[in-house]
């Protein structure tokens, strides 16, 4: 069963992002939204965790939430793809279930 | 409360500040001024337009002290003082000029 995981908290503030990466099955999708998008543009440890995750999971980030926070799309980590609201809907539709990490 | 011009209604709070800053226009400013018993002159418009620009740039209505200083910087010392601004807006430039400009009440306004 394929799953779409969404993370809406900053990786520096809550451990939702880490828990999601720990428990998400290989091959499932992770979409970073709201304050979760900071993970896609971070440095240091978080950048390493994103790089590691993108090798076994499909990692997406919601473009409008990046733009709201002043983060340019050219700063996001390699292996992370940007989607718009339509892409969010497509992802939800393409997977059997959505798991929200709050 | 609300203002009405040619059948168009503009919602305002109980003190007369309009609730939708985007709905503001010069005709509405004249009407609010009339309600405040102020006849708009070029000098009044100078302050009102300055407030509109300030809000557009900073997303807040300035405190009186900040407004006074900024007006002085832009239009000269003879205008950057309370005496001048109160001569235009007797009940306080922050209160009346912001209301006419369609801005919210300044933060920290007492």
């Amino acid at each position: 069963m394929s799953k779409l995981h969404t993370v809406n908290k900053s990786p520096f503030d809550k451990n939702s992002f880490d828990s999601c990466l720990t428990l998400a099955e290989d091959g499932s999708a992770v979409l970073l939204i709201e304050d979760g998008v900071y993970a896609a543009v971070a440095g240091g440890d978080v950048a390493a965790r994103i790089a590691d995750a993108s090798s076994r999971l499909k990692v997406y980030v919601l473009g409008p939430d990046l733009a709201a926070r002043g983060m340019a799309e050219d700063r996001i980590a390699d292996g992370v793809s940007v989607v718009d609201y339509g892409g969010f809907v497509d992802l939800a539709e393409a997977h059997d279930a959505v798991h929200s990490w709050l | 409360m609300a203002y009405e011009i040619n059948g168009e209604t503009f919602d305002a709070d109980e003190e007369g500040y309009i609730t939708d800053i985007g709905s503001w226009n010069e005709g509405l400013a004249d009407l609010i001024a009339l309600d405040e018993k102020i006849e708009m002159t070029e000098e009044h418009w100078e302050v009102v337009n300055f407030l509109r620009e300030y809000y557009d740039e900073y997303q807040i209505a300035p405190a009186v002290r900040v407004l006074t200083k900024a007006i002085g910087k832009k239009f000269g010392k003879e205008k950057g003082n309370n005496k001048y601004l109160y001569s235009l807006f007797p009940y306080g430039p922050a209160k009346q000029a912001c209301k006419i400009a369609g801005l919210p009440k300044p933060t920290g306004c007492i």
């Binding site: 900053s10 304050d35 926070r69 002043g70 983060m71 | 740039e57 997303q59 002290r65 309370n82 920290g108």
Partner: protein, 135 residues
């Protein structure tokens, strides 16, 4: 008209007591309302001529990231208001070096001029304040 309020003097000295206030911002701007509320507290303290310092640390450094555009997501762009602080004579803005670097940010990313301090320097700064409000 006799009911007109008196015209206040230009250099108001009526607030008398000036305290050292330090506002420490630790939250990202849009996920919660803390950042906006803290900014309003800063403006009010400044309007009362207090000696105000503002610290951005942890996710609070994201509050002053340049080029924020939350309007499309239906939120007010209050990041522009940080640039009004100079006009309110609030010029002591500090950023945690560790927090900035951990997030892959540099001083070029900020929409206001800040002084970057390491944790030891921030700790010393907070120690000399009379009121510290963290949010």
């Amino acid at each position: 008209m006799s009911d007109l309020p008196p015209i206040p003097p230009d250099d108001e000295d009526e607030f008398g007591v000036v305290k050292k206030f330090c506002y420490v911002n630790r939250k990202a701007p849009y996920g919660t309302v803390y950042a906006l509320e803290s900014l309003e507290m800063v403006l009010i303290a400044a309007a009362f001529d207090q000696d105000v310092s503002v610290v951005f640390m942890d996710d609070g450094v994201y509050q002053i990231k340049s080029e924020q555009a939350p309007e499309a997501a239906g939120m007010k762009n209050f990041s522009k208001t940080y640039r009004a602080l100079e006009g309110y004579d609030v010029e002591k803005l500090y950023v945690s070096k560790e927090s900035m670097e951990e997030r892959g940010l540099t001083t070029d990313d900020f929409l206001v001029d800040v002084e970057v301090l390491d944790h030891a320097a921030l700790s010393a700064l907070m120690a000399e304040q009379e009121v510290v409000i963290t949010s």
